[in-house]
Amino acid sequence: MSALVPDVALPAAPQRGRRSSVRTWRWSDRLVLLAAWGAGLTLCAVTAAIVLYMGYRGVQYLRPALLFSRPQVSQGQAGSGGFLDPLLGTALLTVIGIPIAAPLAICCALWIVEYGQGGRVRRSLTRVVESSIEIVAGTPDIVIALFGLAIFQLHVLSFVSFVGEGGGVYGRSFLAAGTMMSLIALPPLFVATRDGLLAVPAHMREAAYALGKTRIATIRRVLLPSVRSNIATGVTLGVSRIIADTAIVIVLLGDELRLAPQGGAPGLGLLRGTGSTLTSYVFDNSPAGEGDAPQKAYAAAFVLMLFVLLLNLAVERIARAHASSGGSVAVTGVV
């Protein structure tokens, strides 16, 4: 604000001086620039192609009647009949899988962050737990499916499914598949909760301790409420992994397209029975399965994509809401 020098008039828009022209670059640099642009645009193009093609086919073949009618009893699906049962099957698996995975993941994360940081024994136990969850995250779903079959074909666990004639345990049911789905949903939940707990600032814990609260009370009253959005993110990611999984469904839910409860009890019978989900319905109706109803497959795949899109949007919404309120949610959504 010096009176000696008059105020200067600056241009409104930023000017750029002369940039280094591409002509002076080495050939490999130009190639890399071109390749980077090409790769980025290819990524956009591929995604657009997938989404638009599925949308086109889905709009072409999806009728509301399909959503509410049950599949035909015979294996061929070319006639009438929809996919209500597969939709119910997907919902059932989610309802079984998440309540098993969520407490497991939250307890693991809590133990690691609160109790597992002191002392050499505890720290090595922490490393063991984290490595196991990483191994579970990296295991192919088909291996988890075979593991589920091996476990649930033990006679001890025959209550989960039913015992066929000849004495062999069938081993396939919604309960079995749901339990294995919880293993699939465990890693995203664990990672989200653990990152959220690590991001809680130290002064919040210290304030609670200074007021005389025990550690378990701090966890219950202070920490868990503050990582609510992280848990929500983790649950959403876990749900999207569960509904997208096919291998476990195919191995652990049998070949029936309709829900087939086992035994008399109404709720437990449904859980012990077999059925199908959207993913196995798509698989069975494609040329890889019995394969004579690609239209039904497209319709079911379109519904599946819609669910995945909605869940992705939900994850973003949660992340944005939490970030605007001053927290930090790391969303990788990949593991």
Binding site: S20, T139, T214, R215, I250, D255, S286, G333
Partner: protein
């Protein structure tokens, strides 16, 4: 009941939480034990020669299917070299296709894209990573396979190989392309995170030394994220090895080792991988001999994941020499 309702001490709560946490480790242990136990009969009868080539694998597998209870030792005889070869081939080609693409796309997103495009691309990558594999398989089998079978395979190639294998379009090239599209988003996300974490001081320093943008990216930024690229490649390979449904849908499901000597037809020949074998024969899991062989395939997948992570660690070791400590 009163004692349970009273507030728990920290010590008890710690024990309970720790027990639950150890459940997670227990599940991994149980997984290895059960899969290995069920896979043992195959290895007991075949030994390590199980992985070698010999005889017609299709007839061998039919043989294992035939017997249902108490099979004779001859029922266990399989040689899975075509499966091993198919797995390695598909995974290596998909990685070779996807890794450069993913790294370049990540560089584009973080460094070169205009701001509006960058904001749009981040959710796009996340969406691609969460698309179910059965949808990739559906598009592959309903769009790509007819395209390859109808337009890319010439009649002469078909007749020349008629005696050995049918070329239907479902084969190596479709499997590799779709698998590359599936594993690329994982790598893009990881490398993007690593590129964004490169300190701005290095970028400024490189700019102040008078190198153009691409040079600065190549010489400094990419140099600094090499460990992240290795980690991304390891993760993507693990995903590619475990992909069962999509490969089963598009790869032709024939026990065949594609022969490079066949020229262009090499890319159209069908194959099978460990994971897709399990999916293809999952109905036969009641037959003990076949079930044992499928569990042996699952054990191979488990072992490969372990080998990958150890290998990745050793590859990253020399790369860390010049990085910041800690």
């Amino acid at each position: 009941m009163e004692r349970l309702r009273a507030p728990w001490s920290d010590h008890r709560a710690g024990l309970v939480l720790g027990a639950v946490a150890l459940l997670a480790c227990l599940s991994v242990l149980l997984m290895i034990v059960f899969v290995a136990a069920r896979a043992w009969p195959t290895f007991a009868h075949n030994g390590l020669a199980w992985l070698g080539p010999s005889g017609n694998l299709t007839t061998q597998v039919e043989n294992t299917l035939a017997t249902s209870t108490d099979p004779p030792p001859s029922a266990f005889h399989v040689r899975v070299w075509p499966i091993l070869y198919g797995t390695l081939l598909v995974t290596a080609l998909a990685l070779a296709l996807a890794l450069p693409l993913a790294v370049l796309a990540a560089v584009f997103i973080v460094e070169l894209a205009p701001a509006a495009l960058r904001r749009a691309l981040v959710p796009v990558v996340r969406l691609l990573a969460s698309v179910p594999s059965v949808i990739y398989g559906l598009i592959g089998v309903l769009v790509l396979v007819p395209f390859v079978g109808g337009h890319l395979i010439t009649a002469s190639e078909r007749t020349s190989l008629q005696s050995t294998v049918q070329l239907t379009g479902a084969g190596l090239v479709v499997a590799v392309v779709v698998l590359a599209v599936m594993i690329a988003p994982i790598m893009v996300a990881l490398v993007c995170d690593a590129l964004a974490a490169v300190p701005a001081a290095w970028r400024e320093g490189a700019a102040a030394l008078g190198v153009n943008r691409v040079r600065a990216i190549r010489a400094v930024t990419l140099h600094a994220v090499r460990p992240a690229i290795v980690a991304a490649a390891v993760l993507a390979t693990a995903r590619a090895l475990g992909e069962a449904i999509m490969i089963s849908m598009v790869s032709g499901s024939v026990f065949f080792s594609p022969r490079p000597g066949d020229g262009v037809a090499f890319f159209f020949e069908p194959l099978r991988t460990f994971a897709s074998t399990i999916v293809d024969y999952h109905e036969g899991l009641g037959a003990p001999a076949l079930s044992s062989m499928l569990y042996a395939c699952a054990l191979m997948l488990l072992l490969s994941a372990f080998v990958l992570s150890v290998g990745g660690y050793f590859i990253k070791l020399p790369l860390r020499r010049y990085q910041v400590r800690g």
